[in-house]
Amino acid sequence: MQLGPLLLLLVILTVFAYIAGRARAISLAGGDSRKLHSLPAFYGRAAAIAAAVPALILIVVWLIVQGPMLESRAMALLDPADITAERSIEAVSADVHRMTGGLNAILRSGQTPSTDVATLTGQLKTHNVTLQGAPTASMIAAATALEVGQHRSRVWLSLLTALVALAGFALAWRQITPEYRARNATERFSMALLIGCSLIAVLTTLGIIASLLFETIHFFQLYPWQKFFFSTTWNPQFGGGSDLGILPLVWGTLYISTIALVVAVPIGLFSAIYLSEYAGSRMRAVVKPAIEILAGIPTIVYGLFALITVGPLLRDWIAQPMGFGNSSTSVATAGLVMGIMVIPFVSSLSDDIINAVPQSLRDGSLAIGATPSETVRQVVIPAALPGIVGAVLLAASRAIGETMIVVLGAGASAKLSLNPFEAMTTITVKIVSQLTGDTEFASPETLVAFALGLTLFCFTLALNVLAQIIVRRYREQYE
């Protein structure tokens, strides 16, 4: 049975279990549902859960285990002589899989697959299956074994699923009595589901850390960590013998983020001050959402903006006339555009924090004769400073982790230079360039991306945690 009909069968069984469980509870109570511990529907639900959940778990586990098991058994049948230098094991196994699909189609159309190589190739062709290389006897054997295995596995899965569902239902059926606490039972299950869902966040973090850490350890087995952290050259060569020093990338990342913050912090902070201290409610209602639009624009849009507008503009009007170079991708381009992107992060957070400063502080300052700007500079800002620092740190972590703007705006050459109109590159750009395209996973040139990713993750995590601690401590101060 295919997966679709099998699931449909399970749904039907579940619905049946619900109806039967509910009916049994009512009949046991003699038709008077007040004699039951829970509402009749809960008995139905308990029966449905007992029928569906174990069967579903079985299906999922089966599907995860079956693929690799059948695969390894079929590939063991392959003749080692079939795998040559021109025809790698991957190519052969891809052909075997294609053949398996073809055999399946042939069987479904009511024909019998021929054992002769030439006839079989013809049969496969009529079912639109073309192989990259000529099939050999051992490949046909493997493909047949795979086909038979898949077929058998489907039959067994269908039988076992039906059996487990029925057994679960039978158990529930026996459990149902008027005293059975069906509501508590179903709610325990729902609660487990809720807890399971909230664990996904933890699992994601574990997944991120595990995937980064394993490959990073793998990388450091192939490449000395001292060179990675302290070498000042980045020069990956896909033939081997590359220099993979992170320092030029860290320099580019920090340089671009600094420019971004130099652009974003004054603009963001002053807009936040003006909006919270001076602007009327009508201006606030228009300007605040307008600035926040900047945060909702996808980064690819900023990237293209850097590439086609800001880059050429800076090159033609500043870099070339002043002799700084003639590259349209540059640190300044990426930094400026990224600065525009992080303005709303600085301004919204600062705005919230400035608004949280108690009005009494302002009133006190104004009452002793300070002008509004003196109040802001000498009372409001010092009071809000920790929060503003937190906001800036969050913006910095955004800027460091940003990818598309730097991929399109900053360039790809790893350099240690002070000239802001030169193309430089960042950690994120290199993660993208080392991992896109055909990746050979065993080489240090690919694995370095994981070490870069881990560095980036630790960097941004540290900034975030620091920012959160500062902001939280500040919030508590005035609550």
Partner: protein, 437 residues
């Protein structure tokens, strides 16, 4: 000290000037931020709007049976053997004949140059049309073809006579001819429907590149994100907000969620590559992998507003439900959650909008590959290779032909329109249904 309070002394004047300056700084900052927004939008609109119009040529095409079906049998096998090059020649001859019939002087151009005004994609389109309906062979049909990217660029101001003289793909004579054809009404700018429905085209044919596959790929991923994040996000928020005991473990989950929301998106791409593709063996470039990566990324961004919405429901509602004998779960699912639903949906839509524009993680899981075939219908289509809107934009920016920059900007307009619709929906939902307690 002398004088009245109505007379500013020097110090007051300095202080008042400082006050004015300070205000001016604030105003300047706001104006700069807004100018940046306007500049960004104008740049994108200015570059992208031409992508919605396309230069096309309409003329009668003589489907010569001697070229397209030499044996005269009209059998599908024989017809399928005729390549697009033959159809290109048919188009070129028909256009030359039409020009001659209209008395348009082709100048120094050779008849073979005429064919190079027509996009190679159009010969493929004509071939598909004929293969679908072999009865057309031998007849004369009106057919609309795409002009090449250079001719299209000329009418959009991207290509000039001077640049054409240096370009080996076109020449000033061809542009002059195109002008004449425009005057004769053969060639015209039309609304570019192909931009929305055609798949991507190769590097040399920007005129035929469309967003069809990318839009479907993005739609599939959004479907996956919606179907998974909404229930999981709501369940997780309900647990954390309503049931979780205050202990180290729930603290851990909370810190976790707060930090996950700030993890750079590219890190999720690495997770997707090493977990979903290398470990779980899911196919590269498939919407299912992209969707799952975006789910993990969007979850924390949805949990945070959902919890806020749950928190906003007053405790009296819970007390009343508990008071009439509802269990805690019934209280939440029958009363609290429905009341919080507008806030939950608003947060979900905004999370989806963010996911729709996300590019970096999708690059790592191979969605940047060139995909020309439409994925099949779900659920099978979730596993077929597809592109996605933001990745398609990135892909186009990396190509040489300047026609693709216009396409990329046009695609951004499409993407922004989707985002505006989603965000407007979220705002409408909030203002229509949100209750203030």
């Amino acid at each position: 000290m002398s004088g009245s309070l109505f007379e500013q002394d020097r110090k007051t004047a300095v202080r008042n000037a400082a006050e004015k300056r300070f205000r001016a700084y604030g105003l300047t900052a706001i104006i700069l931020a807004l100018l940046a927004l306007v500049w960004l939008l104008i740049s994108i609109l200015g570059n992208g709007l031409p992508a919605f119009r396309q230069t096309m040529m309409t003329f009668p095409v003589t489907l010569d049976a001697a070229v397209l079906d030499k044996s005269g049998n009209r059998t599908p096998e024989e017809l399928a053997k005729v390549t697009t090059i033959a159809y290109g020649k048919v188009l070129a001859t028909s256009l030359t004949a039409e020009l001659a019939a209209r008395g348009i002087d082709i100048g120094a151009l050779q008849p073979k140059d005429i064919g190079s005004l027509i996009s190679e994609e159009s010969s493929a389109q004509l071939r598909n049309k004929v293969l679908a309906d072999p009865a057309l062979i031998g007849t004369v049909i009106p057919f609309t073809v795409l002009a090449t990217g250079r001719i299209d660029g000329y009418f959009k101001g991207r290509v000039t006579m001077a640049s054409a003289a240096l370009d080996k793909n076109t020449s000033p004579e061809k542009l002059v001819l195109a002008d004449k054809m425009k005057d004769a009404g053969i060639l015209a700018m039309r609304f570019n429907t192909g931009f929305f429905f055609l798949p991507d085209a190769s590097d040399k044919r920007p005129e035929a590149a469309g967003l069809g596959v990318a839009i479907i790929g993005s739609a599939y991923m959004m479907l996956i994100v919606l179907l998974l994040t909404l229930p999981i996000g709501v369940a997780a928020s309900v647990y954390l907000q309503e049931f979780a005991p205050k202990n180290w473990f729930t603290d851990l989950i909370e810190v976790n969620i707060a930090n996950l929301a700030a993890v750079p998106s590219i890190v999720y791409g690495i997770l997707g590559l090493s977990f979903f593709i290398n470990f779980a063996g899911l196919p590269r470039s498939a919407p299912i992998v992209g969707g799952l990566v975006l789910v993990l990324m969007t979850l924390p961004r949805i949990i945070i507003p959902t919890r806020a919405a749950l928190q906003a429901v007053p405790p009296s509602i819970r007390d009343a439900a508990l008071g009439v004998g509802a269990s805690k779960l019934q209280t939440v699912f029958h009363h609290v959650l429905p009341l919080a639903m507008p806030g939950v949906l608003t947060g979900t839509i905004i999370g989806l909008a963010q996911a729709l524009g996300e590019t970096a993680p999708l690059l790592l899981i191979g969605m940047v590959a060139f995909v020309k075939d439409f994925p099949s219908a779900p659920p099978q289509g979730f596993f077929d290779p597809a592109s996605a809107l933001p990745v398609q934009i990135f892909n186009w920016t990396t190509r040489g032909d300047p026609g693709f920059v216009e396409r990329a900007s046009g695609a951004i307009i499409v993407l922004l329109v989707f985002l505006v619709i989603m965000n407007a929906g979220a705002i409408a939902l909030r203002s229509r249904f949100e209750r203030r307690w």
